[in-house]
């Protein structure tokens, strides 16, 4: 599985820079960021969803394994959120002249950063594993529940420069053949990479957990 994903991503990188043409309407080659920025943002949101799912599961089962899966999702989500934020800022600088534009999407992703960071600080502040698991699960779920307000409120307060996502408001696919193919391949590649990393870290955590119990 691992070599396939690596080869796939290698092919995506080559295609993103050499095979796919730059999209019209963007400065220079800047449109190529879409192949890395959007998949990273997608994985960041996916990780948030997964942490919410395992948090609910934990509250039902009180199984520390479920708590561990939620925490790993948050840690990796944070990584991908940072990648999406930084790559987005670079694109914003090239395209609009400033790293930070107070775009609704930029603000939304910082909220995700704040939630992830708060979640991890909370975990560090509790020693007892069961108590830590309960508190962080409740916090993740509560953050998840209030998130829709943010998604609703922000676009009404800030004006957006952000390009439409690849399916625009009219439901029409905006991308040309090669761009679309590369983009979808990258999306699949990033998701697979995340799945790989996620399973790897869960395995590691499981070993640490077992060591802690039997040592």
């Amino acid at each position: 599985m691992k070599p396939i994903v690596f080869l796939w991503l290698l092919a995506v990188i080559v295609a993103a820079f050499l095979w796919s043409p730059p999209a019209s309407g963007f400065v220079g080659e800047s449109s190529r960021i879409v192949f890395f920025h959007v998949p990273a943002a997608w994985v960041a949101s996916l990780a948030f969803l997964i942490s919410g799912y395992w948090s609910v599961r934990f509250l039902r089962s009180r199984d520390l394994e479920h708590d561990m899966k939620a925490a790993v999702a948050v840690r990796q989500g944070l990584l991908f959120t940072v990648i999406a934020t930084v790559s987005g800022s670079v694109f914003a600088k090239v395209m609009w002249g400033a790293y930070w534009n107070w775009d609704p999407r930029q603000i939304s992703i910082t909220l995700l950063l704040f939630i992830y960071a708060a979640y991890l600080v909370l975990r560090q502040s509790v020693d007892d594993p069961l108590r830590r698991a309960h508190l962080s699960a409740v916090y993740a779920i509560f953050a998840f529940i209030t998130m829709p307000f943010f998604v609703f409120v922000i676009p009404r307060l800030y004006f957006s420069l952000h390009p439409d996502t690849f399916i625009n408001a009219g439901g029409k696919i905006e991308m040309g053949g090669r761009i679309l193919a590369t983009f979808l391949a990258s999306l699949a590649g990033f998701t697979a990479l995340f799945a790989l990393m996620y399973r790897l870290e869960c395995r590691l955590e499981r070993l640490l957990l077992a060591k802690g119990e039997h040592a």
Partner: protein, 205 residues
């Protein structure tokens, strides 16, 4: 006939196992002494029985006859007095008893509260804030708060701490009366309290 059945309860602090497969049963008329050296897990065991700590394994059942008391009803049936469970400092002795009585019984228990205060020689102090009571008086008040609702099950963790000879007599009377209502678990290392026990469960380090 009330029974507390502890079935295979274990507990560990991190990687240090503290209690392993604890099993016992106590019934009405019995005062089960839980003994063991410091750090053997007496307080933890009582907290596990009361449900103040999540039980990672095993279970605890509270039975009235053959009927198991549902978790939600337990607060009206169970009383507990332990070192780390304080009353409200800025409220008076009587206010504390009325508050806990109201939560657990739903009604006003002023009559019973006043009578209990009298038995513990605390009646003259009933309008003083708990903060201003001596440690012995506070201990007696904690014991009263644990039985204000005449619970069917009672857990006592070092109930004699800070009590003088007269306080110990009061405690003896309280335990004697309570064991007719239901089982009492009494965790202690104080030889003055051993006499209350009808049976013993020893914890080792």
């Amino acid at each position: 006939m009330n029974r507390i059945a502890v079935e295979g309860v274990s507990y560990a602090y991190g990687r240090h196992p503290l209690l392993q497969d604890v099993r016992f049963e106590a019934r009405t008329g019995e005062v089960l002494l839980v003994r063991g050296p410091n750090g053997s897990g007496k307080s933890t065991l009582l907290r596990l029985v009361a449900g103040l700590l999540h039980r990672p394994s095993g279970r605890v059942r509270f039975l009235e006859g053959d009927r198991e008391v549902p978790e939600g009803d337990l607060r009206a049936r169970l009383g507990m007095c332990a070192v780390e469970q304080n009353l409200y400092d800025e409220l008076t002795a009587l206010e504390n008893l009325l508050f806990f009585g109201r939560l657990r019984l739903g009604g006003d228990c002023a009559g019973r509260a006043e009578a209990l205060l009298g038995r513990a020689d605390l009646h003259p102090h009933r309008h003083k804030p708990v903060r201003s009571l001596s440690s012995g008086m506070r201990q007696k008040l904690k014991l009263l708060a644990a039985v204000v609702h005449a619970p069917g099950f009672l857990l006592l963790d070092e109930p004699g701490s800070n009590l003088d000879a007269r306080g110990m007599e009061f405690l003896a009377g309280l335990v004697e009366e309570q064991k007719d209502r239901g089982p009492v678990l009494l965790a202690t290392n104080d030889p003055r309290e051993f006499g209350h026990g009808t049976r013993e469960y020893a914890l080792a380090l």
